[in-house]
Symmetry: C2
Subunit: 411 residues, 2 copies
């Protein structure tokens, strides 16, 4: 990879080669971050030649992706999700300018498709025929769907509480699904043992530094879709920490290349019932285990494996932390639905729930330009959506009964 | 609308003005079809200027859409869904070249977004503040989501058997949802009465000739994505008949403009338990009522309102009819999932199920170039997907237990 210099340990700073055998730091076991040769990249990648590219997917940013030369790009069209200017919602929240990026419109309906696309590309290039991960759901479905399209086998470890829709999606994609009778931490450990034993390609966000590189394409798109006028804030839900780290990396890449002249502040939003990353920021202490008490299953991560990357991102950006209740999350689901026609899953709308709270607490000024990323489609978790949505009016097929029903309710 | 000449009755041929007050034929009550002024359109619309357009949504084909000058285009990004060349699936089916168009990646996760986008545009331009329809689900969610994004109110009538995911989606979008204790026909009639009484904008496919014009953009895209090399066959599921009529109209438009030099044959696929359109083609008699016995709820339409348009499209194209069982539909769900990483709802994959059967029956030659459209996302109907998908392997968080479980099954 001519565009990649190597990988650096987020924990101890040790330098490594970027390859598929050294996934974590040889010295301290910490997670690695990919380091780019911006000087090399600048020579062939400019705002002008980007504007001329006709590939409207994450692969339009190939110059900034850790992909070996000659790799086969997976078939599913990942990325270039819509960025909507949502004036009615902005006004309702008391904000001047708000954009919503709907990443639920990816092939398997979540932002995780961006990460899995990189993993699948690397796995195939490395000659692996099987990919594996543990996941609360979205990482899994994105890996299973992407692997199926690429002709690879997949083994997926899910905690038993994973929503049925997500597990069903895996099975439809032909994945070998192992439902682990335990929490996310138990699931992760079992997957790690199995991956080592059987030599599968490891897509666990914990130990695979390439994943947040895929996720960063969401920021590359936000910047390009805003014609490189950087927003003041980007609000995003945080679980494992890999996504917010990716969001930050994308903006930093563009800043290093001179595509943008400043960086946004991150709004890190977690569920009150599971907010170890935000708690560490707020208390200035290291991340410690928390219970996983939230219906937003995709961010219910008690022991975030990419916590160090997330903390660095939030701190470097001068960011804000906000924790929201499950009721606030459900409220954000209907709020986005009613004002924007966007249906996000609970973890998907948590960033918007946090933005609403941050504005109410005056942590974000009313004249700020904000982007909130919806990270997953609401159809993935209908049980939660039903809690938010209420029920329809049931009537017999008769006009008089309909009129009577309308009179008796407040439509 | 300078590009539109008027509307013609599909039944008696009577000519009408194209507007929002005359939705059905004044003479015979038949459904209308929009007629374009291709001479006018040709002056400003060419393959060359299309290639230069940067709007990658259905609105890139504005020249061919029945939209009043000065209309506000709805915010949701509809269309330009991916068209995948699926060699592995093609080989498995015994076909040389197969493309799958995944229209489940639209904003509310179905092809119906294309039709609703037109309805919403016309409603807003006509000064209506409320839109309404009856639907088995997808037309409804696309209308509700699109209306929410546009700031319009919606009233949606659904039959009580509509899947919960689809109804929940409506409620999230803030629609006023009326669940009718009856079948689709009862639901349709009640909605017609209510629309007349309260003066809402009517998005019922039965009486709104603009909807199939929106749906035709799927064909405009297929043609452009294939660089105007027309496929030999297009396989699509058929319920009300509006979609297949739209598919045909898109190709006919392009043929009239000289963008393409031939037309594809249509493969009309219905469920065995509800196939009134195909039965009419096969027996050469008019469409008559059938029961609605299929799990593919989106095409369970016993009395298709756009039947005449559908029959004309299938016949004009020299098309094929295929009826498939629910088991064949479920089989197509896992087939598309395992080979392409595409998760379609039952009605969404029915076209592919029919294609498989048509190849087996030697109705489609092995060297044909075929496009199969997946019309809706599988996450919309998890209950059916679960029937197709099976269950995961459940294990305790222990490597030895995992090895034991692997040995006892055929992963």
């Amino acid at each position: 990879m001519k565009n990649v210099k190597g990988a650096i340990c987020v924990n101890c700073g040790a330098e490594h080669e970027a390859n598929d055998t050294t996934l974590t730091c040889k010295k301290c076991g910490g997670i690695l971050e990919i380091v780019y040769d911006y000087g090399y990249i600048k020579k062939q990648f400019s705002r002008e030649n980007l504007a001329a590219r006709k590939d409207f997917s994450m692969w339009r940013y190939m110059d900034l992706l850790p992909v070996e030369e000659g790799s086969t790009i997976p078939p599913l069209r990942v990325g270039w999700s819509p960025l909507y200017k949502t004036d009615r919602l902005a006004e309702m929240l008391g904000l001047k300018t708000l954009y919503i990026k709907d990443d639920g419109l990816n092939p398997t309906s979540s932002l995780k498709d961006r990460a899995s696309a990189i993993a699948i590309t690397r796995a195939a290039h490395a000659g692996k025929d099987t990919v594996a991960c543990s996941s609360t759901g979205n990482a899994a479905s994105s890996l299973a769907g992407g692997a199926a399209a690429m002709g690879l086998k997949s083994f997926i470890f899910v905690p038993e509480r994973a929503p049925k829709a997500k597990v069903t999606q895996l099975l439809i994609f032909g994945a070998n699904v192992i439902s682990v009778q335990g929490n996310y931490e138990d699931t992760f450990k079992l997957s790690a043992g199995a991956i080592e034993k059987w030599g599968w390609y490891n897509r666990n966000a914990a130990v695979n530094p390439y994943l947040s590189e895929g996720k960063k394409t969401v920021s590359l798109e936000i910047a390009e879709q805003l014609d490189f006028k950087v927003p003041d804030y980007v609000a995003i839900s945080v679980g494992d920490g890999c996504t917010i780290a990716g969001v930050w990396k994308g903006f930093k890449d563009l800043f290093a290349l001179g595509f943008i002249d400043r960086l946004p502040k991150l709004i890190s939003v977690q569920a009150e019932g599971c907010c170890p990353v935000n708690r560490a920021i707020e208390t200035g202490s290291p991340i410690t285990w928390m219970d996983e008490n939230t219906l937003a299953d995709s961010i219910a991560v008690g022991a975030p494996r990419n916590g160090d990357k997330a903390l660095a991102a939030i701190r470097e950006s001068g960011g804000i932390t906000v924790n929201v209740s499950d009721d606030e999350i459900l409220g954000a689901m209907t709020l986005l639905g009613k004002t924007c026609g966007i249906f996000g899953e609970p973890a998907g709308v948590t960033g918007t729930a946090g933005l609403k709270k941050a504005i109410e607490k005056k942590l974000v000024p009313a004249d700020a330009v904000v982007v909130s990323v919806v990270t997953g489609n609401g159809l993935k978790d209908i049980v939660s959506a039903q809690k938010a949505a209420g029920t329809p009016l049931s009537v017999p097929p008769d006009m008089k009964e309909l009129e009577k029903a309308f009179l008796s309710c407040t439509l």
